[in-house]
Symmetry: C2
């Protein structure tokens, strides 16, 4: 038993974050349209006190994709099977692609997550009912999640805008990528599927920050 | 009658292309998925010797959007109401978005129009039948149409790759934009809807070439 403990301690020591060599590359995560629900939205769409079912963990600590999907309905059209991300939040937020804004007939409003004042509303349809929000539909502003100590290492600050470059046949650059330096973050650059497709970005791509 | 002729001649003189002040900006055209059909594809999909109906002229001389649409069917999915562009061509060509390649289950192959060797095939469905092509599905490589005299003015050559820059909240740059300098061209930069949405490009946007 003591042998196992010694081995485990040796592994843990090796895995100490301070011991892992740091690089200046950042992994890219590609987001498709998705929804964050409040518990009152969950209650209305799936039934009173319904608990969302975790399907798989996401890169950001504590965040996960749920088994459940909903339909989103705008004045001009409908999009089915939109994935819910958990856990529930204080406010419902619907993150769509710019092309979805035309299908749905809602204004495309480029925002960071959580910045929902004066954004369009929409109607959500679940198996147990519909739920109308008066605001909360955004096209996500591209951003890079990192810990405050990562920000220090990259010499950037929370809220700063940087440029990122992509190589390849569809290579190019994206400006105005917002640094989000917060505790409990996983280092990852988030762009949406239209941004990824336009620049030829596939899962596993890494980027460097250009200031 | 002579008065009218004099007026007409004065107008024509004013419209002489050499008299129009040249700028270094290029208008951007945004392409959604679309199809160019051969006459044998038209015959099979719409009936023998069917003639496509012009809906509206496009910016490239002689090119037009047709009233008719078709359905495209890949091994994993179907996309309905894909617009046909006329006139008919010697070979059928299906230009889709990178996101469509996932819906349809075909490989995304980045090509210039006409460069169809070793591209995926697909099945088209029209009101009178279906038509299978063994190749011809591409994701269009971004490009700039111009006359040879424009190429001279911009100091670029046919086939050269340039970079274009976009301002705005979703601003950035696209590399590897191919110059297509041919007779009977309208000066226009062509990108697809995913590229436009990723960079926040709207109709009426103009760009400058960066070499």
């Amino acid at each position: 038993m003591e042998d196992y403990e010694a081995i485990l301690n040796a592994i843990m020591a090796h895995l100490n974050p301070n011991d892992i060599p740091k690089t200046d590359t950042i992994p890219v995560g590609i987001s498709n349209r998705h929804i964050h629900l409040s518990q009152s939205a969950v209650n209305k769409l799936f039934g009173s006190n319904y608990q969302l079912t975790k399907l798989k963990d996401l890169s950001q600590p504590g965040q996960y994709a749920c088994k459940e999907c909903v339909t989103i309905c705008g004045p001009k059209g409908v999009i089915e099977k939109v994935r819910i991300l958990g856990p529930v939040r204080s406010e419902t937020q619907v993150e769509i692609l710019q092309s979805d804004t035309f299908k749905l007939g809602v204004k495309g409003t480029l925002r960071l997550s959580g910045d929902l004042a004066n954004t369009p509303g929409i109607t959500l349809i679940g198996p147990e009912g519909s739920y109308e929000i008066s605001q909360g539909v955004i096209v996500a502003k591209r951003h890079i999640h990192m810990l405050p100590q990562d920000a220090e290492r990259f010499e950037v600050s929370d809220g700063q805008m940087v440029t990122i470059d992509f190589a390849g046949d569809r290579g190019g650059s994206l400006n105005n990528v917002v640094i989000r330096a917060t505790a409990n973050s996983g280092l990852e650059c988030h762009i949406d599927t239209e941004e990824a497709n336009a620049l030829g970005v596939t899962p596993g791509t890494t980027i460097k920050i250009r200031k």
